[in-house]
């Protein structure tokens, strides 16, 4: 177990480093560098051509070989410096520290919420298997899952925000709301996050609920549930301790990977809601060829993914003692 822990930690760090190197090389293959994008932006703004050249000249640096750039990036990264954003003219770490909590707030809340709903709904469907309720709930789950979250998000903005003005269409909080632990700020933040969260929860809960339903039905037919009934245990105890626990178990890894997946999906969601989280900055960085910012966002999302899979692997053995972590099999 202990050597497994060391190996697994080593592999997590190795993965983050490899992804970082790969990303570093890849984003330098993107056609058109930051300077060209700046020039294009200035031309669109109708700036005088002679002034454009002067502005661009101030940003021009001597071209450095990629490996030197890479070495400089890694050494400064180890001291916590993620570089300067070319587009926003701010340190990347400051932008990320500002944006990350909002994305995590929206996506983690949404993922937890959708799993709670899925587990309750799936269990109910399993207990009432074959009834009209089961049929209606299963059909609704399938129908909702066929909508991509961003399509529902667009529908929400157009209908609920533009048409009826019930919810804000963009931004994290309303104008003039000061951040802080005030009721006004918190309620305003939740009000703005309601539609993004709802569009993720509604479109993703269905498939998870169906998975929970299948697991529960399978567990309900197991011998140990029958024995528990013969022992005269209360229905409540059977439902929670015997069926619930065993049905939820297979969904645990899925939960952690879905959080990571959704944080990647924030690129589209935050674009629809003009919600400045890391997904929004990722898109801006890509469009404006802001290498440092793009690297920073990539690193943060990768680290989140690696850490969630890492936690899932390490804790699964604790939750389900039957699984022995890290057993090696004979080679053929």
């Amino acid at each position: 177990m202990n050597s497994y822990f060391v190996k697994r930690t080593g592999r997590a760090i190795l993965t983050i480093w490899l992804v970082m190197t790969l990303t570093f090389g890849m984003i330098r293959l993107i056609p058109g560098g930051p300077i060209e994008m700046l020039r294009a932006r200035l031309i669109r703004q109708g700036v005088d051509p002679s002034r454009i050249d002067a502005i661009v000249q101030t940003y021009k640096q001597d071209p450095t070989p990629v490996y030197v750039e890479y070495y400089e990036y890694v050494t400064s990264l180890l001291s916590g410096n993620m570089g300067q954003s070319f587009y926003y003219q701010e340190p990347v770490s400051a932008l990320i520290v500002d944006a990350l909590p909002w994305t995590v707030f929206v996506m983690v809340t949404a993922t937890i919420l959708l799993f709670v709903i899925a587990i309750l709904l799936g269990a109910l469907m399993a207990y009432h298997e074959g009834t009209a309720f089961d049929t209606v709930a299963s059909s609704a789950s399938i129908l909702l899952s066929s909508i991509p979250f961003y399509v529902l998000a667009i529908g929400f903005v157009v209908v609920l925000s533009y048409q009826f003005g019930l919810f804000p269409a963009r931004y994290r909080v309303g104008p003039g709301v000061e951040p802080g632990f005030t009721v006004q700020f918190l309620s305003n933040a939740i009000y703005h996050a309601a539609l993004p969260i709802a569009s993720v929860v509604l479109t993703q809960a269905g498939l998870q609920a169906l998975a929970m339903r299948g697991n529960s039905i399978q567990v309900l037919g197991e011998d140990f549930v029958r024995v528990a009934r013969l022992r005269g245990l209360s229905d409540r105890r059977i439902a929670v301790r015997y069926v619930g626990r065993n049905a939820i178990l297979p969904m645990y890894t899925g939960f952690l990977t879905l959080i990571g997946f959704n944080i990647g999906g924030s690129v589209i969601l935050e674009q629809v809601f003009t919600y400045p989280g890391i997904g929004y900055y990722m898109y801006q960085a890509l469009i404006n060829r802001d290498y440092a910012l793009m690297m920073g966002v990539f690193l943060i999302i990768t680290t989140t993914l690696v850490v969630s899979v890492y936690i899932a692997d390490l804790t699964y053995g604790l939750i389900d003692p039957r699984v022995q972590s890290g057993g090696q099999s004979e080679a053929y």
Binding site: A126, V158, G221, G264, M294, A331
Partner: protein, 347 residues
């Protein structure tokens, strides 16, 4: 229900059943083997699939999309700027543009229809690449074990750890692909990793079976064991995941077109969504809502088809359901009653 279908198709396929029973692969000709494969993987599952309501509806919807993508494109005029009067509402001039036109006079329905063929190619390419690559990596890693396993597992773990959508966006901008098949492969560039991981863990159990051990003792080569003994076992799982991958390709492709990351010179539902959404924001009215609804419906129904297929196939390949094929048992709802019985006690 099943019986009727059975006899109906018996006349055309009766000889396949005879050949099917010869089973052993010692001295069969290629055509016989092809027929075996057809019966095992197309005919039998198809028959059971048709019996399940979900797969039946899913197949019908998918077939409709194939029709739209082949015949529909040929019958319905392609969209062009100013082909019709501008900003027609749906049903306003039904025979000019049934579902209305955009602000630049393009037929909304035509745009949606002419986006279909590319989407179907994307789905096929992405699905085949994702599942094929996952099967290759997963079976080899799971069966070989040892250093090969460690290497391949690390490889798929790394692929899994790269954030999917941002990675696809960067690759899409670098290559700026026009070919739908290439786009499909790019979208599933790291989707296969999760699937490979779960296939590997299934193969770890299969490799311990006695018949695999027997093959190995007889000195059968690795490739042959994987193809003959292991892949048939995971095939149902792979097919279900093909449908899931297909849905992922649709969602991601439309999302990328929506963001404008992929070349916007073609027709796509995502581009339609983006244009309509921008206009809806500018006009802040519901007057252009139909321009959103048409592509939304096209996306939803094809995704619905794949979900229904995936959900239904889960059952199709369940061995207990498949015994119905042989007509051995009449207890078709066996599994239902089995699990329903304790339910009553629970209430």
């Amino acid at each position: 229900m099943v019986k009727v279908k059975h006899t109906e198709s018996d006349s055309t396929t009766s000889n396949e059943f005879e050949f099917g029973t010869t089973g052993s692969d010692v001295e069969v000709t290629t055509s016989e083997r092809l027929r075996d494969i057809y019966e095992e993987f197309v005919y039998k599952p198809g028959l059971v699939a048709w019996d399940d309501r979900r797969t039946r509806i899913g197949s019908i919807i998918l077939f409709a999309y194939v029709l739209i993508g082949t015949v529909g494109v040929w019958l319905y005029e392609a969209p062009a700027t100013n082909q019709d009067p501008r900003s027609l509402q749906p049903f306003e001039q039904f025979f000019v543009a049934p579902l209305g036109t955009t602000g630049s006079g393009e037929d909304v329905l035509a745009m949606a229809i002419h986006a279909t063929p590319a989407m179907l190619i994307m789905v096929l390419a992405g699905g085949v690449f994702a599942t094929g690559f996952a099967v290759l990596i997963g079976t080899v890693a799971g069966y070989k074990g040892g250093a090969t396993d460690r290497l391949l597992t690390t490889f798929s773990d790394i692929a899994m750890s790269i954030p999917g959508l941002p990675l696809i966006m960067v690759v899409a901008i670098i290559l700026s692909p026009e070919n739908p098949a290439v786009i499909g492969v790019i979208i599933t560039i790291n989707y296969w990793a999760g699937l490979a991981r779960s296939i590997r863990s299934q193969v770890l159990a299969i490799r311990e079976h006695s018949y695999v051990e027997a093959s190995r003792t007889m000195g059968t080569g690795t490739t042959r064991i994987i193809v003959k003994d292991i892949i048939p076992n995971i095939m149902p799982y792979v097919l279900v995941n093909f449908a899931n991958a297909a849905r992922y390709v649709i969602f991601a492709a439309v999302g990328l077109y929506y963001l404008g990351v992929l070349p916007t010179s073609v027709s796509n539902w995502g581009i339609q969504l983006n244009n309509a959404y921008k206009q809806a924001g500018a006009l802040s009215g519901g007057g252009t809502f139909y321009q959103l609804l048409v592509p939304m419906a096209f996306i939803m129904f094809i995704a619905l088809a794949f979900i229904l297929l995936a959900q239904g196939m889960d059952r199709v390949f369940n061995p207990r359901v498949r015994t119905r094929m042989a007509g051995e048992s009449k207890s078709e709802s066996d599994d239902d009653t089995d699990t329903a019985a304790p339910t009553e006690v629970m209430n």
